[in-house]
Every structure is written in structure tokens, then in C-alpha cells.
Subunit: 406 residues, 2 copies
């Protein structure tokens, strides 16, 4: 397809998009012509700006300390339940908002290896996100465990076959990303979980790059633990708190390494001796980050309204369109697709490589065309289903073409 | 003094208060007649509501992912430096905003005991805040250490003498609160630090109940580590991120237990193998909670403008007035003061005890008179120097009197 044809196709797809109206719910981004990094930082909803203002005046400013008793203390679980229902396939009482992804990875992985005390290895892959790898290195050192690396597979993701070769009676825990941060490879989480369980290990999934765009079925897949951030497809804002999933069957014995008062059974008893809260609340350590967890609520409601399956359908259509456009316009200039061609194995972003892309990204940002850059030579196009249009996607890829031609 | 005399005295003190104008900078609290819990949750500034709105529209919403490079990544250190200069007596490069108090207590204490590998004890006091005690219990268990409890002293605080009896060649770390959460006892942090150092141990101070109201001199006192929250006298909002101080001399060897990508030397290199950032940034684990750390900036600026010594002068006058009023009006009904009489040993809140106070607090909250309740029978009057007036303090104590009479 030619440039004009691709533009027409984009307009047609937008016209037929049943979720197109959702785009108007996001705040206008001044000077931005194409935002293709919703998988790093989702855009704010108009409602979010208003809700924050309201919260400061009516809740923090007027209910003051009473707000904790009235609603704030329950917020981490309430939002967790809403997220679990809207996007994660998790029944109530298993998800909670807290800390950062890094801190939750630490807490959940520590609890997991404590639940498999005789085993000696944590299994992960070298293409996993840096923080996942770094946290596990630290835990391995402090707990006297060994890391076993699954070799990088097809498109930077892990397959059940590769994991089957790595796990065994020594496996305490396996830690993988549901969608790989660079390639966008979508793991078969159910099959991988089954393989780890067959070896007697536990599994911790990182859903940072999938939650809110790619449906998960944490309960049905029999997942043990999961974490994710809220500032990508959950539009929680820069550095918003993360969320954790701990399957009901593991909560009773969840060994919390960071024992804080708000994860204790009776915080305001202020008694001697830590006694963990029942249920998912024992994952909490410090005071819940109320202000920071407000924005994600608006996006979770929107995902529930649209339906996560409809969101996924649009996500696949967006990445499919982006691949078509990249093949047609950019491949002739030597651009190589680094993401899976099979939509069933692809998340909501694609990465394309070219030696010039570091400089190209800098030039695009100046023009208000905003993809992300990933080492060593990748432009990552993050397509957030509820805020991204096909025409915007065209505009971004067309701007890359202009750079390559210049 | 009688009720009318105390009211006149309050009005006179307000009229003579050089910091009185600062009160207008806080958002009006609808339906609240007296807010005496600024030591649990500080009130929002008018500027904060506006700045949050601006941030969502102009920064998050328009700069989008570019905001990280442009300013957000530096925010934890920039705010830390501002706080260190305004209120903590800490030179630049030693304070950083991150996580929650609980998580920072964990990280700093783990790093401290790793720096004293041959020693076997953590020293703390039973009146320390629950989260401090619970975190240290957990660390003691995981690191094979013993907790040594300093017996509760005068007004629930720790004295240098009591600490001297507890520390010795076995002491790895001592963990105390600068101001005790219940009694308001203000420890002699310099003397206590000297005693711990003389035994070869390290010291971690919790400044949650002092930072922003009671000046600290962390550098001059030779403190090793400190933490504090930002939602009390720093008015950061419910669950706002905490801050950590790590003295320059300990940064090079700071052993981070929660190794995250944003505390690594080159986060966007995304390389294999964690390599810690130089300086205070290695205290960071996950993505900085940008939205949550915005509000405290406004209050830190205000404290810098007023001057922490002027803030302290007003704080002492407020607690002195509250004690006078409690003695005159409430003591006849059996109310007992649980806080130090010596202003040099008192923070910015006082606690008074009476068997009826649980019920009294509930009744007061209904009327928009808002102190805090602390087990087993305490009303805690938190007097936030820049937002609290003497008349407001009178009104609160007078309302307690009305309850006791009824």
C-alpha cells in the first residue's frame, strides 16, 4: 500500500471503530500530533484532572483525617478488586494496589521462595525487564539461591518448551513477563504456568506491559503471583503505585518480608508484635498512597465499560495496521520488525529497528510525534487501544518515513 | 485561667503571631471548626490544588513521556535537597523522596546491619511507632539478629542514659523516633547518636513526627540514616511518598536489598546485571511516584520562606498554650497530660488522657472538631505551626470541656 492508501485505510478503520468515541475522554495533549507511547505512560483522562481537584478540596481538604476511616483505607483493595474484574480475570480479594512494581516484585518473590524452602533456583529470562532481573539477582544473593536463565527465544519471549527445559525439582520460582517490554511478545502464560507447576515450582508473572490492553485470566490460568504497574495501559500517571495479585491459596502462608503497620491485623491497636492481616491486605507494608492511586480508577472504569475483549480486538487491529504500514513504508529503507507477526503472540506495542532510530526519535519528539526509543536501535510504538486512533498511528509511521527520507 | 480569659489570650497570641498570615494559604476545610490533627495528615495548600491540576494538563497530559527526561527523573533528589535545606540540616545529595516510610525503614535498616556484619543486635524502644518495631522484628528474623528493647522512659521517649545502658559491642543498629508518636517526647538525637556511635553502632532516626515542625541537624548530629513521611507537617497528602537521608559517608557502601532499575547506574541502558547508581540515587528501587510527590513541594517552599526556627518558635507557643488550657479547663475533670512539660523535650503535639476519650473523640469529629485518638485513652492534639491558630486550639480544648461536662 502507498502512503495515500494507508491514510485512507486508517480513516476507514477509525470510522468503523466501535471504541472511537473513547478518545474524546482523554485530555488534549498540547502540541502533540501523535502519541505512540501509551505503553510507557498512558494519557490522563479529562475526568482524572477533575477528580484530583475534587479529591483535594472535598476529601483531603475537608474530610481530613476522617477520610481514612470513611474510605481511603479500603481503597487499595477496592481498586484491586475492580482491576481484577475488569482486566485480570481475578476474583475479588486477590488483588491490591501498593508500592511500586519493583517493591512488589521483591515482596512477592521473597514470599514465594520462602514457600519452597528446599528448592535452590529462580528461573527467569534475559529479555525480562531490567527491574525484574535486578530484583531477582538481589534475592538470589540474599537467600543463597541460583538464577537459571531461560535462553532468549522467538522474538524475545519465553515459550513453554524453553521453560520446560529449565525447570525441575530445584525450581522454587519462575518469573516472566506476560508481554515482553521490547519485542511485545505475548507469552502463553497458561501453558508456562502449567510447566512450572508440573516441576513443583511457583510462578510470578509481570503484567506491566499487558494489564489493561491484553486480557489476563489469572484465576483460570492457575497463576500463583502477579504484579503490574498502573501508569501504562491503566493511565495512573507518572510513577503511580503498582498492583499485586496473590492467589487465595497462597495468602494464608504469605510471608511478608517488609512488615508494616498497615499490613498488620489491627493497625490502630498499635500493639507489640507484628501479626499479619488476614487475606490480601497482608501484602501491604506502609500507608496506602491514596493520592497516587486515584487516577487509575477512572481508567479501570473505562476498561470495564468498553469490555477488555473489545479493547483487545482494537489493540490487535492497531498493531496489525502498524505492521502493515511499517512493511509498506519503512521496510524499503531497511527497517526491520522485531515483534511477533502472529497476533496471538503479540501485545499492544510493536518494535521496529533501524540504525538511525536513536536520532530519529529525538527529531520526532521535537515535532510532537512521540514513540519511545529502546536500545540498541528500536523505535517502540505503543498503541493504547482506548486513546489511540489509526490515523494517529499512520501519522507517526509517516513521520518516521519522512525522517528516513531526509 | 478561665474560659473567657483563655479565649482572650488565644486572640492576643494570634494577633501577635508573625506567621499568622500563612494560615490563609491553606484550603478552607468545609464544616471544620478546629483541625488538631496536622500531625497525622497536614491540610492541603491552595497552591497544591492548582499545581496538581496544572501538572495533569501541562506536564503529564502534554509533555507525556518526555516529562521524565525533562524534569521528573530528578524530582526525588531535587525535593530531597530542598527538604534537607529547609528542615533537616542536611547538605545536598543526602536526601531523596521514595516509597513509604515502612519500605524505607526496611531498606535503610537492611543496609545498616549489612554494614556491621559481625554485630548481632538491633536496639529500639517499645514506644516506637508500630511500623518501626514491626519492620525491625522482620529484619531480625531474616538476618538472624536479636532485638534489644530500651525500657520506656520519661514520657515514652528514649534518653541517652537509657540507650547507653542498652548498646555495646553487639550493637549493629539503633532505631528511634525523633519525636514519639504518642507522647510527643522529643529525643536528644545528638546525644543519643553519640552514645550509639561510642559503642560502634549505627543509628537510624525516624523523623515522621518532627520533620517540618521541629528542626533537625542531621549533618551536625552526625546521624547515619533517617527516614520520615511527608503527609504530616510536610502536607504531602494521604499516603504521600516518604523521604530518606543517608549520610554521604555511607552511600558508597549502601547495600540496597531491593535492586530496581531506577536505582541502577544507567536505567535506560537496560543492561544485564544490576550496578548501583552513585550517590543517594541508589536508595531508589522503583519508578519515582511523581504525582504523589508534587504536593509536598509547596509546603517545603513555605517552610523555607517562614524559616524552620520561626516555625519551631510558634510550635512551642502552640503546645505551651494547649497545656495551659488543658491544665485550666480539663484537669479538674480528671484529664492527665501525657506529654513533656519541658518545651525543649516536646514536639509539636501533646497527648492528654481520660477514660472517656474514645467516645469524646467520636462526638467531636461529628461536630467538625478534629483531634486524633490514640489507645488506650488519649486525645492527641497535633498543632501544625503554619496552619493552626491559637483560637482554633482554644476551640478544640473548649469543645473537649463541653463533652466532659455533658
Amino acid at each position: 500500500m502507498t502512503e495515500p492508501e494507508l491514510l485512507v485505510a486508517a480513516k476507514d478503520l477509525d470510522a468503523a471503530d466501535p471504541l472511537a468515541d473513547f478518545q474524546d475522554l482523554f485530555l488534549e495533549a498540547e502540541g502533540v500530533l501523535s502519541y505512540l507511547d501509551g505503553n510507557s505512560l498512558g494519557r490522563p483522562l479529562r475526568a482524572t484532572a477533575e477528580h484530583l481537584q475534587e479529591f483535594v478540596r472535598e476529601q483531603w481538604g475537608s474530610r481530613l483525617i476522617r477520610g481514612w476511616d470513611e474510605s481511603w483505607l479500603e481503597l487499595p483493595q477496592r481498586i484491586g478488586d475492580a482491576l481484577g474484574a475488569a482486566a485480570l480475570g481475578a476474583a475479588a480479594g486477590q488483588c491490591i494496589v501498593a508500592d511500586s512494581t519493583t517493591v512488589l516484585l521483591y515482596k512477592l518473590a521473597r514470599a514465594a521462595v520462602a514457600a519452597r524452602p528446599e528448592r535452590t533456583e529462580i528461573v527467569l529470562d534475559a529479555d525480562n525487564f531490567p527491574t525484574d532481573r535486578y530484583v531477582m539477582e538481589g534475592i538470589a544473593r540474599e537467600c543463597g539461591l541460583t538464577l537459571r536463565w531461560v535462553p532468549a527465544q522467538y522474538d524475545g519471549g519465553v515459550t513453554a518448551e524453553a521453560v520446560a527445559d529449565a525447570v525441575g525439582p530445584q525450581t522454587a520460582l519462575a518469573v516472566f513477563s506476560h508481554v515482553a517490554y521490547r519485542s511485545g511478545y505475548l507469552a502463553d502464560a497458561e501453558a508456562v504456568t502449567r510447566v512450572v507447576h508440573a516441576a513443583g515450582g511457583l510462578v510470578l508473572w509481570d503484567l506491566c506491559h499487558s494489564a489493561g490492553a491484553v486480557p489476563a485470566q489469572l484465576d483460570a490460568w492457575n497463576v500463583d503471583y502477579a504484579v503490574g504497574c498502573s501508569y501504562k495501559y491503566l493511565n495512573g500517571g507518572p510513577g503511580a503505585p503498582a498492583w499485586a495479585y496473590v492467589a487465595s491459596r497462597h495468602q494464608q502462608d504469605f510471608a511478608q518480608p517488609i512488615q508494616g503497620w498497615l499490613g498488620s491485623a489491627d493497625p490502630f491497636g498499635m500493639a507489640q508484635g507484628y501479626s499479619p492481616a488476614p487475606g490480601i491486605r497482608r501484602v501491604v507494608s506502609g500507608t496506602p498512597p491514596v493520592l497516587g492511586m486515584l487516577p487509575m480508577q477512572d481508567m479501570i472504569s473505562l476498561i470495564a465499560e468498553a469490555g477488555i475483549d473489545a479493547v483487545r480486538t482494537k489493540s490487535v487491529a492497531l498493531t496489525e495496521y502498524a505492521l502493515t504500514a511499517a512493511d509498506a513504508l519503512l521496510a524499503p529503507y531497511g527497517v526491520v520488525v522485531a515483534s511477533p507477526r502472529d497476533p496471538a503472540r503479540r501485545g499492544s506495542h510493536i518494535t521496529i529497528d533501524h540504525p538511525s532510530f536513536r536520532a530519529v526519535t529525538a527529531a520526532l519528539w521535537e515535532q510532537g510525534i512521540i514513540p519511545d526509543y529502546r536500545n540498541p536501535s528500536g523505535i517502540r510504538l505503543g498503541l493504547s487501544p482506548l486513546s489511540t486512533s489509526f490515523e494517529e498511528t499512520f501519522r507517526g509511521i509517516d513521520a518516521i518515513l519522512t525522517q528516513l527520507r531526509s
